[in-house]
């Protein structure tokens, strides 16, 4: 994608390839647009992305500081504080707007890590016969058995609770499912005639992987990415609810942690519990709906079944 050349008049092989790719993406987009749930998911995601990026324009970041909080403690929604205040007298709405940043950032970054590891391991174990492939496959299978939350908690305890370590923790615990999906797809790509032809023409394993297998598993990687982000956002929220967020950063998870830990929930302060929870559900649901729509389009096995 980085090497897109200026298209020459005569249709060279490169130009043709790019034309085909553009058309393929266009077809995918047309199918995606026809999927109502997928479009709703995409729209919700865009709204949250805009809120997260432009948070400082939407709310005053100064009001996030506990020391400069001016409101009453745990006040119900009023005209001045549309969603009430938290146990420090800060506006829940302001916290909610800034709190969108950490889950989305962590969710996306952790997914990138999971995807890179999962795609590499999945392709490698799908391409190599013999002991190397078997070992990679077994390794994936064993890794998938290790319960996610205890592993993430242990890692977070050992690595400390910075934003970066939370990203790494979620990233390296989330790859095995992707690896299995990519491996299965690699197997099916491997048996197609063009692979045979390329091999006969003398293509080495590296060329086969990068030029033939990778472009063919890529759509599936994208669909899987969208679904994995949903899981990563949930993971981030759960870790910060259990007290593993960066204590200085505001996120929906730390808001819920505070609501639980300081007794706002016991006191019936629903405005401290409902808004962050509903936002988490909305984001996760949106990623899931968009991801399922993409998966329906790109996963040939699913398409057959419908």
């Amino acid at each position: 994608m980085t090497t897109a050349p200026a298209l020459p008049r005569r249709s060279s092989a490169t130009a043709l390839r790019w034309k085909l790719r553009r058309e393929a993406w266009g077809r995918t987009w047309a199918k995606f647009r026809a999927n109502r749930a997928g479009m709703v998911g995409l729209a919700v995601l865009l709204v949250f992305a805009v809120v997260a990026v432009f948070a400082p324009l939407l709310a005053d970041s100064h009001a996030l500081r506990v020391s400069s909080a001016s409101g009453p403690i745990l006040a119900p929604p009023s005209r001045e504080y549309p969603l009430g205040t938290d146990d420090n007298g800060r506006s829940v709405l302001t916290l909610l707007i800034f709190g969108a940043r950490v889950p989305l950032l962590v969710g996306l970054m952790a997914t990138v890590i999971s995807m890179v590891i999962g795609t590499i391991v999945g392709m490698a174990s799908g391409m190599s016969d013999g002991w190397a492939g078997t070992i990679l496959f077994r390794f994936t299978e064993w890794f998938i058995v290790i319960p996610f939350l205890p592993l993430a908690l242990v890692l977070a305890t050992l690595l400390g609770g910075s934003l970066l370590s939370i990203i790494v923790v979620i990233g390296i615990t989330g790859w095995p499912a992707t690896a299995l999906v990519i491996r299965a797809q690699t197997f099916s790509v491997r048996e197609r005639p063009f692979m045979e032809r390329a091999r006969v023409l003398g293509a080495g394993p590296w060329h086969l992987m990068s030029k033939h297998v990778f472009p063919n598993v890529l759509p599936l990687v994208f669909a899987n990415t969208t679904l994995t982000v949903a899981g990563s956002v949930l993971a981030e929220t759960t870790l910060s609810f259990l007290g593993f967020g960066d204590p200085t950063a505001v996120s929906w998870g730390t808001m819920l942690n505070a609501a639980f830990g300081t007794g706002a929930v016991s006191l019936g302060a629903w405005w401290a519990l409902l808004p962050p929870g509903i936002c988490v559900i909305a984001v996760v649901l949106a990623f899931t709906m968009a991801g399922q729509a993409l998966e329906d389009i790109v996963n040939p096995r699913l398409e057959e079944g419908r």
Partner: protein, 353 residues
């Protein structure tokens, strides 16, 4: 008696013929020695992997546990050296690994920092509340989830299917502990609707082993079990629904109808047994996530089980306890996976068992 004669002929129609006579008698000899050996060997390898990962986590990723442990207290170099020596960290990695293996196989995980009790004793005390919470929730959610999913698929596209599918998708996107907090706020902490206890497993002053004590414990478990059941149920119903939709296109259902079975009979005898197969595999895979639910829900409802112990241990951090808990959770999932494989082989005669 007619149903008997029909069901003996069913294996022709579908891969799985339920209601086959003498089924129980066949169970004992169902598994070949080869199948059993493969299963046990596979699980043993997985356990070994878990044991190595555990060592790797606690000794390699964190090369200076003495600093974590001595946080705030041990500041001088001598103090740190003293802790290093006590933990055996001044020895070579291989010696440490050997000692660690010995610990694992003798069950000697040291003493919890927080409770000053041997770790295995502590885990033995705390395992029962977790089982009381997780087992009923798992069984209930599988039972209800498969019923819900198959009913959705059987009349797919209908009003029941559409409304419950939306419900399941929303539940699937919800953190289980958030639902727990919500139920806690409304049905435990609220002065009007709060009929359930706000946490724990026993009321003070009630003997746990008496009749009232058992009823009291069940009362305490209503909200946490409901929370877990509802969240797990969502996923199982989604799996069951799609698996049922796959099965519904099969020819053997048409055969069943053609020979005069009622809708209900086709569903129960031919569709359900086949649709259940993928569910078994996915339940096994999901067990790894079930453990996470135990941790968060026990934290929300202060149930003194392994999950609460974990979230307490990581705050300290109580490394010996955390290490043992990680092993216990992983081993439980490995064993449960193996059990699921055996059940799968029982359900699907095509699996060479």
């Amino acid at each position: 008696m007619t149903s008997q004669t029909i069901s003996t002929t069913t294996p022709v129609d579908g891969p799985v013929g339920p209601g086959i006579p003498h089924r129980r008698a066949r169970l004992a000899g169902r598994f070949s020695r080869r199948f059993v050996l493969t299963q046990f060997a596979g699980s043993a390898f997985a356990l070994m992997f878990v044991i190595v990962v555990n060592f790797f986590l606690f000794r390699v990723i964190n090369p200076h546990p003495e600093r974590t442990l001595g946080r705030g207290k041990a500041r001088t170099a001598e103090d740190l050296e003293e802790i290093r020596h006590r933990l055996g960290l001044d020895e070579s990695m291989w010696v440490q690994f050997g000692k660690y293996l010995k610990q694992v196989f003798t069950g000697d995980f040291g003493v919890s920092f927080q409770y000053s009790k041997p770790v295995p004793e502590l885990i033995g005390e705390r395992v029962w509340p977790t089982l009381l919470l997780v087992l009923p929730a798992t069984v209930l959610s599988i039972w209800l989830g498969s019923r819900l999913g198959s009913r959705q698929a059987w009349k797919h596209g209908g009003r029941f299917d559409r409304s419950t599918s939306v419900f399941a998708t929303v539940m699937y996107s919800m953190p289980e502990w958030w639902l727990g907090l919500l139920l806690f706020m409304v049905f435990a902490a609220n002065p009007v609707f709060g009929v359930f206890p706000i946490g724990g497993l026993h009321s003070p002053g009630v003997a746990p082993m008496s009749v009232e004590g058992v009823a009291d414990t069940i009362w305490h478990l209503v909200l946490p079990t409901t929370t877990l059941t509802v969240t797990y149920l969502a996923e199982y119903s989604m799996i069951m629904r799609s698996s049922m939709l796959d099965v519904m296109g099969e020819d053997y259902l048409l055969t069943g109808r053609a020979k005069g079975l009622s809708d209900r009979q086709v569903l129960r005898r031919h569709a359900l047994p086949n649709a259940r197969l993928p569910l078994t595999t996915l339940i096994a895979l999901n067990l790894a996530f079930t453990v996470g639910g135990a941790i968060t829900i026990e934290t929300v409802f202060s149930i003194p089980g392994l999950g609460l112990l974990t979230s307490e241990a990581m705050r300290i951090p109580d490394l010996p306890l955390l290490q043992a808990l990680f092993l216990v959770f992983s081993a439980a999932v490995v064993v449960a996976n193996m059990v699921a494989n055996f059940i799968y082989a029982l359900q699907d005669p095509r699996v060479k068992a």
